[in-house]
Assembly symmetry: C2
Homo-oligomer: 424 residues x 2
């Protein structure tokens, strides 16, 4: 596949050739019309549906190998395709076709006193490297988002779903129509050295987006000569202020912890102002425990909620990704802010309060990618933000921060129009 001959070339030459293919396709894709890109996406979705039988057969091989290797049922489920999952993948690709094209958008423009008209225009980043783990649907998802945002992509899928991911990439490449197929490149080897080679191609790949666990992201960041968009842990807080509407606070706390505990934007630490703790904590504890949540509290919390276990120092810095919650009673807004600055991961933190001054102080002081007032941290998500798609959530401070949609896969250039101006 990928139309690159392998016979005698080394792994290094092969991986570099794939990256070069993407680099060569990038300027063509960058100038492709919205119609051409959407046509490629719709044709790709149709081809995925059409090839459902083949995909399921290929996937059965991956599943068999994973089971033979003794992988857990949850792991095998992640790499398993079904007809319904292939349909969902195709719909996802079609939805990306429906989104507005960010490329060519004028972000801002102005005229200088000398008459120069300066426009800041959105353009693709260039070539994006996506390194992911076992879910094969990332192949279609990431390829679609990169293609729509005008970026060529080099995909490196996890070895457990390798055959399935390779097959999805091949199907999409065959359906690109006017867009060059090399805009979607798939690293067709499970050799781990291929990743290291990829991470050295700073002239060919503009940015690396790892999709997977923290270990993957750290390893890639350590080894990369290319900028990496990181998604590190989410230790999210909810602070229930003395002026909170306690009914709202209960609803938000239960949602932020228990609606889907295994994700980065779920609450891990609950902070409660001393003045409302006696009224609030027993009631919310009952609801959280009814939802299956184990509570670990400070001494004050345990006095009010005797069923809570004692929280250790490590608990305040732990991303449980599970039905466990650490709870602390604080003396003031300032204490809550200081606690979040110390223990938060800068992803998402919330305050529940009816006091607008307190809310204002909180939103100014907490420097997280998303700061919520009277809403659940679970809304930290590209779809919930209205981006229509999400390539990931960035915990970087540079370039893109928080949920990343199509716009966050672009950069800009300045187009300056004059009438013969020169500098004096």
């Amino acid at each position: 596949m990928n139309d690159v001959k392998r016979r005698t070339e080394s792994l290094e030459e092969h991986v570099v050739a794939l990256c070069r293919g993407a680099r060569a396709a990038a300027p063509i894709l960058a100038q492709a019309s919205t119609e051409a890109k959407n046509a490629a996406l719709r044709a790709g979705a149709a081809a995925l549906r059409h090839r459902t039988g083949d995909l399921l057969a290929t996937n059965a091989g991956d599943i068999e190998r994973a089971k033979a290797a003794g992988e857990t049922a949850a792991f095998v489920d992640r790499l398993t395709l079904t007809a319904a999952r292939i349909e969902a993948m195709a719909v996802g690709v079609e939805q990306v076709a429906e989104l507005p094209d960010p490329v060519g958008e004028t972000i801002t423009e102005w005229t200088r006193p000398n008459g120069l008209r300066i426009a800041q225009v959105r353009v693709p980043l260039g070539v994006i490297g996506i390194i992911y783990e076992s879910r094969p649907n990332v192949t279609a998802d990431a390829a679609a988002l990169c293609l729509k945002s005008g970026n060529a992509v080099v995909l490196r899928g996890g070895k457990e779903a390798f055959a399935t991911s390779a097959s999805i990439a091949s199907i999409l490449r065959d359906a690109t129509g006017e867009v060059p197929p090399d805009a979607i490149m798939f690293i067709d080897t499970t050799d781990r050295e291929a990743v290291r080679i990829m991470l050295r191609q700073a002239g060919l790949i503009d940015v690396i987006i790892p999709r997977g666990g923290e270990d993957l992201i750290r390893a890639i960041t350590e080894g990369s000569r290319i900028p990496v968009i990181q998604h590190f842990s989410g230790i999210c807080h909810v602070y229930v202020d003395r002026a909170a509407d306690l009914a709202i606070a209960e609803r938000i706390c239960v949602n932020a912890k228990a609606q889907r505990p295994g994700v980065c934007n779920a609450m891990e630490n609950l902070l409660v102002h001393r003045d409302v703790a006696p009224r609030f904590l027993p009631a919310v504890a009952q609801q959280l425990e009814a939802a299956g949540v184990e509570l670990r509290g400070c001494p004050e919390t345990r006095r009010l909620v005797p069923s809570a276990k004692p929280a250790s120092d490590a608990d305040w810095d732990t991303e449980y990704l599970d039905l466990i919650l650490s709870v602390k009673v604080v003396d003031s807004l300032d204490d809550a802010i200081a606690f979040i600055r110390r223990h938060g991961s800068g992803l998402a933190d919330a305050i529940v309060t009816t006091d607008t001054d307190v809310a204002e102080r909180f939103t100014r002081a907490i420097d997280s990618a998303a700061v919520f007032v009277n809403a659940s941290t679970r809304f930290t998500d590209g779809f919930e933000f209205g981006f229509g798609a999400e390539i990931g959530i960035s915990t970087n401070r540079l370039h893109a921060r928080g949920p990343m949609g199509l716009r966050e896969l672009t950069t800009y250039k300045y187009v300056v129009r004059g009438t013969g101006q020169v500098r004096t």
Copy 2:
């Protein structure tokens, strides 16, 4: 200086302590009022003026050492202060105080169907590391821009102007008023190992901006665990189209090459459409040669301009930073685009044409940080763009591209205001 005890600590501990100081000051500075920041800048400017005598005495020591080390006159000039240069430095700091504060600006906001109001709000990057060479005025310039944009700064000045830069940093630190002095940290050792230690502090410094030559930038990029905003070479092109106004083309070419040849946004390669070459090249060659420019041409150019030397293959990829220009006759707009894509550095390129379709095709196809139509590449500059200041010009594609002013020293956070919304 910097209030950090050195006695027994290692170099590593010392540099880390300085970075920690900046990190601790960062959230306080990030929330400082515009008035407090401007007061610090104005007091700093006044202190620089007040301490002119001391600064000149300190600078005399640096000059003496540089001369004793056999540095060139041009090198010594770069690190030399005069009363006029100190006054210019103070005025520069005051000008930064006059600029609008980017922090807190709402970039965009929208309301979701569920009633959530989402605002994207500009916030400082955090801690910026500036690594620079011999010009001591960078100390004041960079410190002022970082302070106004709410960022703490760790300054590492070149060893030749070390005493002068240390003194400028100390003066500014003493004048910060309400802003914590540790918002301006200066690495008070010339040990080269200090830079390597600094580049490893990914938890304490958010971004590194090197100010200096390409060797410095490459060395820092190689050694850094922190994102680096790079400023690589400027191989800028002017393409004179068949539909060019030749009087405008002449003016732009002479300006782009000769007005200040030693800077990154000066033209290095001139491309001329075959149809206008016989009329244009002899005339512009005469003007360029009158301005002291040496011409190196393709065979066609040399036929029309016999005084031109032959251009070698290397010439098309050389940033002369000097009164030398490579000239090539091309057959078409497409040839010009292909040539620029191959030889350009992606900083700034210009077209001269009266044909709006051709201009449109050029601006779409050329993916440089700044693309000019009928204007000189020399306008690629933060002041000329109206930013009021410039920390540098980025050749990165991520985060900021092209001229960087105060806004480009910020990131954003999302502030989401609700009325009790939870995710379903």
